[in-house]
């Protein structure tokens, strides 16, 4: 057999040395590693081969001489060799993750063949939970877990949030931009149960940290905690659910080196279509023909056909500059952009130390078209990130482990120094095609004197407003000491953690004074206008030179965090009674910029009990405090209880062979939320001490009576926010009932959960309360709101391996979550349909359109508008008089459609593996969602017309759209632009081949995997663009239909090598 005749290695360390390459050497220089001990005494060599019973060799399994620290691991072909002492007990312990560990007596044997059996229960049987881990079968809370490998399938996506989409039931994501370095989607778990901060708590290795800067090749698992039982231990922070990210750690064995490289092509996804100059002006003529009924002078703007034609068929290049026809989408965006990512990791370990270290480099390229600005530098957008991580576990003594995690990232986001970021790409959506060319033939940038604010030369803006490099450095350090206290009480251990996180952000680059260059415009008549021509400087304007702006630390954005925690854990088994108990104390100090530090303190316990793995009970609680609240409300207790029954372990079901597992579980508990705004929100500090009324010092003192801005002797004081001493956290009462099932030896498994969250004491910001202007200030904030969320999650996985080794698998999940506002301090006299009460958070509301007015008779006979009634024309929509009071006004705004957050999400994945080949597709969709995309035509008399179907005319009364208005607009479009935001995407697809033998081994690799995958490949939707939310992460609207950096589709080619 070729495998067994392969070269044998004398020892683990030799083998190790032989394979060392320059690259490895470099990597090893920064990891701690100690070689294995080799035995000088009498030894003999035992060789062996390991397989899984299906004839597949098992690579990377650990073989240790029982009772010693000596061992080795199998190579890519399942072979191993190990020097075994000739005397004494000669038992090898053979283990591999996902397999049952086996002891083999090799006394007298030189060559052994071992088959390890798959441990069906074990594959994913350890679940990361709050402050610990638990065996999957004893979990009674609603927890979903996925692995780093699953994330890696999301073709070319570089952030975890986006890669999680579809892979966790109950997780709802909304992607709204494709800007490099800002693609973190908005995340909700099981819907939205508060109008305040509704983002789940995110912990990385147990510490609250942002997930945007983590490279996910370092991620071992992601665990998502959803119900009270799982989240109550996080007390005042767990209300929105918790996402636990666990990074990879080393395991005992030889160094496994993994190198991977990805190359991603990003292509702009769907952008609203606009007409070219000819068509836009033709529509303008149509509009004017109607509007002269209101304003005869509009005929001045009518474009004669002969002139129209010049836009499309100019007779000379010179005429083309006077009658430009510019496709701003084409000018603004490249056809594609490239991203690259490279990663190398080494993991392994000895009995003394286990290590995982990795380095990751990511470059996200940019879609924006950048032109040579003639000034000697090249600006643009882009994102580069370097990550490193070193996770070490030292076995200091037989009972003491020290773990140190050192990780960090250095990100560089390249942007421009624009005061208004959105103007950089708004042109693609809202620049008129006929206004001006990007550059005239002499190289001068174009501009439009008629409206320099709304219509900007965004290509010029991107190309000439300097380079802003925002550099973010993050260094996170944790130390954890675990002591087994078995000497005092068997099963007791103690753990102490200390963590320090620091984030630094600096800004610098090329400063070009907002790009004040000479710009010109040639009017259709041939007159030339310049922007920098004021007064005497008319013809001698000199472009100011750019300067290098050195990096300066943004002091208000630096972050510091120290965290420490002490934990006691006890586990015991008395007959069939399994008991665990955990107690924990932690303190957290966090500060940003120069603000006074934020403090938190938590006391947490968890006890679990099960009888015979059949009946489970778990009681959790957290007692914790938040400085956001006054002394009376500062601390509180958040308990939860959960029960579980593993039916399949009952004797009456145990004999049913096709039933692997059947469990019923339920939980009930309270969790809190003390976050009002996102950390980092500009107003965050304003909502920090809401229980107090304080005087404020306003740093404003310009001298009255002067124009020069001298300081006044009088510095301002003002009354701050009116405080409310009763301010407290929001509390969610969470209920969850779930069933977990597994049939037919793992062919079908999954779970069904029903949940019901009731949030009360939701803070209503003073500015959002029904408060009277004559109070003269915002009303005090108060915990008055109530919201209910109901929903369910269904997950089903299929997995079957055919006899010919073809494995087919599938995964279907669906989540439904719908919230309802129970109380929101609505003004009492508002009609019920205008109250927030009774509707979802963010329910879309508007006037509603009826049929077109087809004749003047219909116009005159229609319900009167409260204002602008004189502007109605045939071809417009008849607005519904919703409340039937005989006039159209703001009381006809009524709920219709859904919120922008989908009620339902669906995911469907299908994959197959055959030998080295694997393939999978993942579809993801949402429904019951409304998204307003206000495509405005002729906004401020710019000739932008969006494609929105056929236009109304007398002969076409069933048209898809009204004729846009050129001037006399009044925004009476009702819900015309409220699109059904449902969509279905081919979210991910991957085709891969793994080489594990043959030539790869000959060139020193264990395996080589080549894959082609893609993200967001196909989209089916009624929306005119590919964005899932108008909001950015800070809650700002990206200008409705436009103003957003386009989202992208990605095609990724990658290779991954294990050495």
């Amino acid at each position: 057999m070729e495998k067994t005749t392969k070269e044998l290695y004398r020892s683990f360390s030799l083998k190790y040395l032989k394979r060392i390459t320059l690259l490895k050497g470099l990597l090893l220089s920064f990891i701690l590693f100690s070689g294995t001990l080799s035995f000088a005494q009498d030894v003999r060599t035992v060789r062996g081969y390991l397989d899984d019973g299906d004839g597949n060799p098992i690579a990377g399994a650990t073989i240790v001489i029982k009772g010693t620290l000596t061992g080795t691991i199998t190579d890519g072909n399942g072979n191993f060799s190990l020097d075994v002492p000739v005397s004494g007990e000669q038992i090898l312990t053979i283990s591999f993750i996902g397999m049952l560990t086996e002891d083999v007596n090799c006394t007298g044997l030189d060559l052994i063949k071992v088959t390890l059996l798959t441990d069906i229960q074990q594959l994913d049987d350890v679940v990361v939970i709050g402050y610990g881990k638990q065996k999957k079968e004893s979990i009674v809370g609603a927890i979903s877990q996925t692995t780093g490998d699953v994330l890696e399938r999301a073709g070319g996506v570089s952030n975890i949030g986006a890669a999680l989409t579809g892979n966790i039931p109950g997780l709802i994501t909304m992607q709204n931009t494709g800007e490099p370095g800002s693609e973190e989607p908005i995340i909700f778990l099981r819907g939205q149960s508060t109008w305040n901060y509704a983002t789940p708590l995110i912990l990385v290795d147990g510490i609250e940290r942002p997930m945007g800067n983590i490279d996910f090749k370092s991620v071992e698992s992601i665990s998502v905690l959803k119900d009270a039982s799982a989240t109550a231990v996080f007390g005042v922070k767990g209300a929105n659910g918790v996402i636990l990210i666990t990074t990879k750690r080393g395991s005992e064995g030889k160094a496994s080196i993994r190198v991977s490289s990805d190359m991603t092509m990003k292509i702009p996804s769907l952008i609203p279509g606009t007409y070219d100059a000819y068509d836009a002006l033709r529509v303008r003529n149509m509009a004017i023909e109607r509007e002269v009924n209101i304003d005869p002078s509009l005929f001045q703007a009518y474009t004669p056909i002969a002139e129209l034609d010049k836009y499309r068929n100019p007779s000379s290049p010179e005429e083309a500059e006077r009658y430009p026809n510019i496709d701003w989408q084409k000018e603004s965006f490249k056809d594609y952009a490239m991203s690259y990512s490279n990663n190398i990791s080494i993991s392994g370990g000895t009995s003394f130390v286990k290590y995982f270290t990795s380095m990751d480099y990511l470059h996200e390229g940019d879609l924006m078209n950048v032109r040579d600005n003639g000034q000697g530098y090249t600006p643009g957008y882009g994102y580069d990130r370097m990550n490193f991580r070193s996770n070490l576990d030292f076995n200091l003594t037989k009972t003491t482990t020290l773990s140190t995690n050192l990780s960090g990232s250095h990100g560089r986001k390249e942007e421009t120094w624009s005061g208004f970021e959105y103007t950089m790409w708004q042109a693609a959506y809202s620049n008129p095609p006929d206004a001006f060319p990007v550059q005239y033939s002499d190289g001068t940038w174009g501009y439009w004197p008629a409206n320099e604010v709304d219509v900007q030369n965004s290509v010029k803006n991107v190309s000439s407003t300097g380079i802003k490099n925002v550099k973010t450095s993050i260094i996170n350090t944790d130390f954890t000491l675990t002591q087994d206290l078995g000497m005092i009480l068997k099963g007791l251990n103690a753990k102490g953690t200390f963590a320090m996180d620091n984030t630094f952000i600096s800004e610098g680059g090329v400063w070009n004074n907002y790009g004040t260059l000479i710009e010109k415009w040639i009017s259709p008549e041939g007159d030339v206008y310049y922007n920098q021509n004021f007064g005497a400087a008319k013809y001698d304007y000199v472009t100011p030179p750019w300067t290098v702006r050195p990096d300066s630390m943004l002091n208000d954005k630096t972050e510091r965090k120290t965290y420490y925690q002490l934990q006691l854990y006890y586990e015991t088994k008395i007959n069939r009674n399994n008991i665990t108990a955990m107690g924990l104390f932690s303190r957290d100090k966090y500060a940003r910029g120069s603000v006074f530090p934020n403090y938190r303190e938590d006391w947490v316990f968890r006890t679990t009990y099960n009888y015979d793995e059949r009946y489970f009970i778990e009681v959790n609680g957290a007692y914790n405090g938040s400085e956001k609240f006054g002394p009376d409300y500062r601390f509180d207790f958040f308990p939860s209880v959960a029960l579980g029954w593993m039916l399949s372990n009952e004797s009456f079901l145990k004999n049913i062979s096709w039933l692997d597992r059947l469990k019923i579980r339920g939980s009930y508990g309270l969790v809190g939320n003390d976050q009002i705004l996102a950390p980092g929100d500009a107003e965050y500090e304003d909502y920090r001490f809401l229980y107090r009324t304080d005087w404020e010092y306003l740093d404003e003192s310009s001298l009255l009576g002067q124009t020069t801005g001298n300081r006044s002797p009088y510095y301002w004081y003002a009354e701050g926010k009116i405080g409310n001493p009763d301010i407290r956290w929001e509390t969610v009462e969470k209920k969850n009932l779930g069933i977990e099932y597994s049939f037919l030896y793992g062919l079908i498994e999954g779970s069904v959960d029903i949940f019901n969250d009731y949030t009360h004491d939701i803070l209503i910001k003073g500015s959002d309360r029904a408060s009277l202007a004559y109070l003269g200030a915002d009303a005090p904030s108060a915990n008055l709101g109530e919201v209910k969320v109901k929903g369910y999650e269904i997950e089903m996985k299929l997995n079957h391996r055919f006899a010919n080794r073809l494995r087919l698998w599938g995964n279907v999940t669906m989540t439904h979550a719908k919230d309802e506002i129970i109380f929101a301090d609505d003004p009492a006299l508002l009609p019920a349909y205008q109250k927030k009460e009774g509707y979802q958070i963010g329910q879309y509301r508007s006037q509603m359109i009826g049929d077109f007015f087809n004749t003047w008779d219909e116009v005159y006979g229609s319900t009167e508008w409260e204002a602008n009634d004189n502007l109605k024309l045939p071809g417009e929509f008849n607005i519904l008089d919703f409340n039937g009071d005989g006039r159209i006004d703001q009381y006809d705004d009524a709920p219709n459609g859904y919120p922008e957050r989908p009620q339902n999400t669906y995911n469907f994945s299908l994959g197959l593996d055959y030998k080295g080949f694997s393939f999978f597709v993942q579809f993801y969709g949402v429904s019951n969602v409304t998204r307003y995309v206000g495509l405005s035509n002729f906004n401020k008399q710019t000739n932008v017309v969006h494609e929105q179907g056929s236009y109304w005319s007398k002969d076409n009364p069933d048209a898809e759209s009204f004729v846009p208005r050129y001037v006399e607009k009044f925004d009476r479009y009702g819900n015309f632009y409220a699109y059904d935001g449902s969509y279905l995407r081919l979210k991910n697809a991957e085709l891969a081949y793994t080489f594990e033998s043959g030539f790869v081994n000959r060139i020193g690799m264990e395996s080589l995997r080549i894959f082609l995958n893609g993200n967001n490949l196909l989209l089916w939707t009624k929306m005119p663009d590919d964005r899932e939310s108008n909001l950015d992460n800070a809650g700002n609207t990206g200008g409705g239909g436009g103003g957003a950096y386009p989202t992208v589709r990605r095609i990724n080619l990658g290779v991954s090598i294990v050495l």
Binding site: S297, L298, Q300, A301, P449, A450, E452, V453, N533, F534, G535, A536, K538, G625, E627, F689, R692, D694, W695, E696, L698, E700, S701, S702, L704, G705, Q706, T707, T708, G709, S712, P713, Y714, Y715, W716, Y717, A718, S767, A770, L772, A773, Y774, L775, G776, A777, D778, A779, P827, A828, L829, A867, N868, N870, Q890, K940, R965, V967, K969, F970, D971
Partner: protein
């Protein structure tokens, strides 16, 4: 976990000394919006003065269509065209960085609360002289009355807030206009007792010697007291309060007294306010020397924030694209320009006025030439021959005619006129006069003279009546109007307009239109309070279409109605925001909205 003690400011720190307390008061001066700077291209005229280019986003375009909601919904266009509201009530922008964010509605309420907080903490002011204590108290009372008056004049009767409102349920009813006005008058009257006549002559004012012009004084308090009472006495306000649509004589008399007190302080030199002499007349609106415009005539101006020379909102507002601006222009309507009389003091339609319809721009009131650019005026003074195409105001044209290059419905004058009230003609891109500081105020002495005349006329019955004040200073209604006319070298009101209240009033109406054109929405408030804004001559905004004849004079003239303003009964008042009127029934919406 308590708030760090270093982060807490004590009552004593805020109110303990004159200096700190005045720092508390100081912010109230910044609660007054500069109505010309709500956005980059300013927008505030909502009466019959101007016509904008054909756009849909102008405040005055929406008001012409009767859409008064636009006072607070205009922010929906991406920025706020209206200086009345901002962010639906959020109090923002008292500071220099918020000069564009000031909203009259939210900041007036904010200022009222601030005044009440100050008054409630007056006892904590210990380290101060009596004079200093008075100055603080006078300012607090003044601003409480002033802000209420500002609100009333657009929204009608409101609750009068005279204490720091707590956080309990609020259910104050709206008072009638008269009740609200009387409470404001009381505060303004008290303020006048405490405020100094001239800050420069006080110990406290010496700290800011030479920079006290914008601070409120006795005169300001009297002037606003008079204005408040005159408004309350006016037909509209009297009608909504008492059902009687004529002037309230009693309130007119009280108003006349307050105006008299204001004018008397100037007459005797105790206050520095004087009519600016004719040669410096334009300094009421803009200056070229870096001084704050308006003084010594202005009684109330907003804080000036910005002297950026690169871009001037008003210049851009009033000039056509051909002069180097963005063309979002407003132009005075021909119907409004007709208010300008003749140099001989007669209205153009009066017999013997000498007005020649074929030569309409000759021999007019001198203020016509100060404020209005008409066809043929030389605009560009310097430049090269390359600028000849735009050197003279080519304002001829109109519907069906060939437009001069200053005239265009989309990027130039729409009416055949151009306003030059707020900038020098040389403020075009060729002459480029730098350092233009423009700041039309809220009230100047000329306005006080007119209002005095109106109050005396309806309080005491004839143009020849006067308020019986100090024997050394007697001022009849007729004199009051003529003093302002005389400054502009316009002869006094002709005898035929002195025969009746109505005749004299017709001259006051024209006179105010001319002198106070485009200032602080005085016109908008006047038309409403006189209950005449529904008359067709004030509803129809017209343009003058004409060709330029061979001798440079206009020919083929035709007055064309461009817009007929929508005016119904509900348009007497602004609507209140919906979220304000749905909380409890006693705080109800204005009628018709």
């Amino acid at each position: 976990m308590d708030k760090a003690p270093e982060a807490i400011i004590s009552d004593q720190e805020v109110f303990g000394t004159f200096k700190s307390f005045q720092g508390f008061v100081e912010e109230m001066y910044h609660c007054i919006p500069d109505y010309t700077r709500s956005i980059w291209v300013a927008d505030w005229n909502i009466g019959d003065e101007i016509l904008a280019t054909t756009v849909d986003w102008r405040l005055n375009v929406h008001f012409d269509n009767g859409d008064y909601w636009y006072w607070y919904t205009s922010g929906g266009q991406g920025w706020d065209q209206s200086y009345f509201g901002e962010d639906e009530g959020a109090v923002t922008g008292t500071g220099a960085d918020g000069w564009q964010k000031k909203g009259l509605w939210p900041l007036s309420w904010y200022g009222i609360r601030k005044a009440n907080v100050g008054l409630a903490n007056l006892d904590k002011l210990v380290e101060a002289t009596q004079e200093e204590k008075d100055i603080i108290k006078g300012q607090l009372l003044f601003f409480r009355g002033f802000f209420h008056f500002q609100l009333m004049s657009f929204w009608g009767g409101l609750p009068y807030i005279s204490e720091v409102l707590g956080t309990d349920k609020l259910d104050l009813p709206r008072l009638t206009y008269r009740e609200t006005a009387l409470l404001a008058a009381h505060d303004l009257d008290s303020a006048a007792q405490y405020l100094p006549a001239n800050w420069d002559n006080t110990v406290a004012g010496r700290v800011t010697l030479g920079n006290n012009s914008q601070r409120v004084t006795k005169s300001t308090a009297y002037a606003y007291m008079g204005k408040d009472l005159l408004y309350a006495a006016s037909p509209l306000m009297n009608k909504v309060s008492t059902g009687n649509a004529s002037y309230d004589e009693e309130l007119c008399k009280r108003a006349a007294e307050a105006f008299y007190n204001c004018l008397y302080l100037s007459q005797t030199g105790q206050a520095f306010y004087q009519l600016t002499e004719w040669s410096r007349y334009r300094e009421n609106f803009y200056t070229l020397n870096g001084d704050i415009p308006g003084y010594p005539e202005s009684l109330m101006t907003p804080r000036f924030y910005w002297n950026n020379t690169g871009y001037d909102a008003t210049m851009s507002l009033d000039q056509p694209q051909v002069l180097g601006f963005d063309g979002n222009m407003v132009s005075p309507t021909h119907s409004y320009v007709k208010n300008f009389g003749m140099a001989n003091g007669l209205p153009i339609d009066a017999e013997g006025s000498g007005y020649d319809p074929a030569d309409p721009w000759t021999g007019r009131d001198p203020r016509f030439y100060e404020f209005i650019v008409y066809d043929g005026v030389q605009v560009i003074q310097g430049g090269t021959s390359g600028d000849d195409y735009r050197r003279y105001a080519n304002l001829y044209g109109g519907l069906g005619k060939t437009n001069g290059n200053y005239r265009d419905d989309l990027s130039g004058s729409r009416t055949g006129y151009m306003s030059r009230k707020f900038f020098p003609l040389e403020g075009n891109e060729v002459d480029a006069v730098p350092n233009r500081l423009k700041l039309p105020g809220y009230m100047r002495l000329a306005d006080v003279y007119y209002m005095y005349a109106e109050a005396v006329l309806y309080g005491y019955g004839t143009p020849q009546s006067s308020y019986a004040g100090n024997s050394g200073f007697v001022l009849t209604a007729e004199d009051a109007v003529n003093i302002v006319r005389a400054r502009a070298n316009v002869p006094g009101v002709d005898a035929r307009y002195l025969v009746s209240k109505e005749a004299f009033m017709s001259e006051i109406i024209k006179e105010r239109a001319v002198e106070l054109m485009s200032e602080a929405n005085i016109r908008f408030c006047d038309l409403r309070r006189w209950m005449i804004h529904g008359e067709m001559k004030y509803r129809e905004k017209t343009a003058l279409d004409f060709d330029r004849g061979p001798d440079g004079k206009p020919i083929n003239m035709e007055e064309r109605i461009v817009v007929t303003r929508v005016v119904e009964d509900k348009h007497y008042w602004f609507p209140l925001p919906q979220d304000q009127v749905t909380i409890y029934p006693e705080f109800g919406q204005n009628p018709g909205w």
